[in-house]
């Protein structure tokens, strides 16, 4: 894996998890998970709550530390090495369930902070970049407001724009619509669909099966820390192989 930098085909996975396990005390949250994600691929991770799906993607940018197995992002291994962590995080944008915008900064300042501090951009350039992405998520007019003055859907779109300002190659979404009122879910999903269409590599933890069906290249089902099934959406929804997947799909698709 470590030599897989230059010569290997564009086919080489941009994210690669081998045998990743993690425990909280005695409780095993991740059991030997394997996952490969290629550049431009969209993966949707679903599963019942407590199945370890959030923990899985949080291990990819080391908001959680895995205890066994290996995680590679663009050929760099995620270890205790601070340089690696930093290099990997620069390539990964993350969107959280609760937005986690910085409430004491305006929308524009939320977006320019990262580029100015970690990419050493000039303020004017960072603001141009921020406005570009605010237009992409269709809320440039909110630039001077504070996050708490916006609706939930608008806040989540700001959070997406904030991650995009770091110009990452990979975006992780941790239940991005779970904290939203129903009428705001669509505007966030639309933003994510446009992002997917632009070719972004995405891993999305979500219960939005409609989104999975239209956008995903691969749907992964997790339960009890294990990866139960992984298949393209037609197969995953049309003809799931595993009994647990079927039960889960029955439960969430009926409502």
């Amino acid at each position: 894996m470590s030599q897989s930098t230059s010569t290997q085909a564009a086919d080489a996975p941009i994210i690669s998890l081998h045998n990743v396990s993690k425990w909280y005390g005695q409780f095993q949250v991740l059991c030997a998970v394997d996952l490969d994600v290629r550049k431009g691929e969209r993966v949707v991770v679903c599963g019942p709550s407590g199945s370890g799906k959030s923990t899985l993607i949080r291990c990819i940018n080391r908001l959680e530390v895995h205890q066994e197995g290996r995680i590679f992002v663009k050929g760099l291994e995620m270890t205790d090495n601070v340089k690696n962590i930093d290099a990997i995080r620069r390539n990964i944008g993350m969107v959280f369930q609760n937005f986690n915008l910085f409430p004491h900064l305006t929308v524009l300042e939320n977006l320019t902070l990262g580029p100015m501090l970690t990419r050493h951009m000039k303020k004017a350039d960072a603001e141009d970049l921020a406005m570009h992405f605010l237009r992409k998520v269709r809320i440039p007019e909110q630039a001077r407001k504070y996050p708490l003055q916006l609706s939930g859907g608008q806040q989540q779109r700001v959070a997406i724009a904030r991650s995009l300002c770091m110009e990452p190659e990979i975006m992780l979404f941790d239940e991005p619509t779970s904290a939203l009122d129903p009428e705001m879910i669509k505007e966030v999903l639309d933003t994510m669909i446009e992002l997917a269409e632009s070719g972004m590599t995405m891993i999305v933890v979500t219960h939005e099966m409609g989104f999975a069906r239209t956008v995903a290249d691969n749907v992964v089902f997790m339960a009890d820390g294990r990866m139960v099934e992984s298949a393209p959406p037609e197969e995953f929804f049309g003809n799931p192989r595993e009994e647990r997947t079927r039960t889960f799909l029955d439960q969430i698709l009926k409502h």
Binding site: R89, N98, N100
Partner: protein, 368 residues
């Protein structure tokens, strides 16, 4: 439908009559609504009237305002405000040489202008504030010490009064706040060493009276210095007060830090900000806003703690007044003199809390 309309009625019942209430109605409702309340109102009114009459009678009608003859005051039944006019210079300036008092007046003007200018949000710009404070510090130093530009040299042992109080207070806050922030961060730091040092430091110093710390700073600390090295007494005591202040303030700030949700750290980490970037740009600005009222509280307390310099024989405004009131001709009128000192403290303390309230409003409205 019925619930909705009854709710509307409840709301109107609560609001409209209040808006239209006449003075008589208001009195009846709030002061004389029952026998017990009427009694309470009358007793309170009687006590208040008696008190205000005393203040008026003693403090204004029968008071002596200006005289240089203490016998005039003794003959009067009211307050002797003349003692303040007569003694204001040693009270305000302590032992500082009498002919050089103009230097202290100028120093206070520079100090107050610098502080007021620095407190205005539109001036919050390090490129302006740092030079401003450097210029202020140098000119205040030149004025207070002298020894250059033909000014007579005045050692710190002769400094006193209100300028001394101001310097001690400013030194305490300027030195104490950064230490407090570092201690608070240290207590929550990922490094066990930083955590240990901060906990021991805070708990040890918070657990002893201020007077003990000052005693150590003044009498014990010099024993540890190599022979020939001397640290100015005033500087030692300032550091003592500042460290005591910092330990309390650190715990206040830690409370603010604990109120910051984990998601803020995670968002910062996912933008690959470093520890210090996260702390200075994301965490501290929010934490300090949260605990601003408690921070103000300790700053006001610190202002009054400056009067502890009595233990090293320096004459701040309070100690200077006590000393001045030893004068046998005027000693009878110490109440008036202390009221004046209280008024000075109250003026600065109240100005601080008014300013803090303003800052809270600015925060709430998103201006800062």
């Amino acid at each position: 439908m019925t619930t909705a309309s009854s709710q509307t009625r409840l709301v109107t019942a609560a609001y409209d009559p209040l808006a239209r209430m006449s003075a008589a109605d208001w009195l009846k409702r709030n002061l004389f609504s029952s026998v017990w309340q009427t009694l309470l109102t009358l007793v309170t009114a009687a006590v208040l009237l008696r008190f205000f009459w005393f203040v008026l009678d003693w403090g204004v009608i029968n008071a002596v305002w200006v005289t240089s003859d203490p016998d005039v005051c003794r003959a009067a039944t009211g307050a002797c405000w003349a003692v303040i006019v007569e003694k204001h210079r040693p009270m305000l300036f302590g032992l500082y040489p009498y002919d050089e008092h103009w230097r202290l007046v100028l120093m206070m003007v520079i100090y107050l202008v610098t502080v007021v200018v620095s407190l205005m949000p539109r001036n919050w710009n390090l490129r302006f504030l740092v030079p401003l404070w450097l210029v202020a510090a140098v000119s205040i130093g030149v004025l207070m010490f002298g020894g250059v530009l033909g000014l007579r040299y005045v050692p710190t042992s002769e400094w006193g009064g209100l300028p001394l109080t101001m310097l001690l207070f400013t030194g305490t806050v300027l030195f104490g706040m950064p230490v407090a922030v570092l201690l608070a961060l240290g207590r929550r730091a990922p490094l066990p060493v930083a955590r240990g040092v901060s906990v021991v430091f805070i708990e040890a110093l918070r657990g002893v009276p201020l007077i003990t710390i000052l005693f150590v700073a003044v009498n014990v600390f010099p024993l540890f210095l190599p022979a020939g090295v001397q640290v100015d007494k005033l500087l030692r005591i300032t550091i003592g007060i500042a460290i005591f202040f910092a330990c309390y303030q650190a715990e206040v700030i830690r409370g603010g830090l604990q109120a910051i949700p984990r998601g803020q750290y995670e968002a910062a980490a996912s933008l690959s900000l470093t520890y210090w970037q996260t702390t200075s740009r994301i965490i501290l600005p929010q934490a300090l806003r949260i605990c601003l009222p408690a921070i103000t509280n300790h700053i006001i307390a610190a202002m009054k703690n400056t009067s502890f310099v009595i233990i090293i024989g320096l004459f701040d405004i309070l100690t200077a007044t006590t000393a001045v009131m030893q004068d046998p001709l005027w000693r009878k009128f110490y109440v008036e003199a202390y009221l004046f000192v209280a008024a000075v403290y109250l003026f600065f303390g109240y100005a601080l809390s008014l300013y803090a309230r303003k800052v809270e409003k600015w925060i709430a409205s998103g201006r800062i």
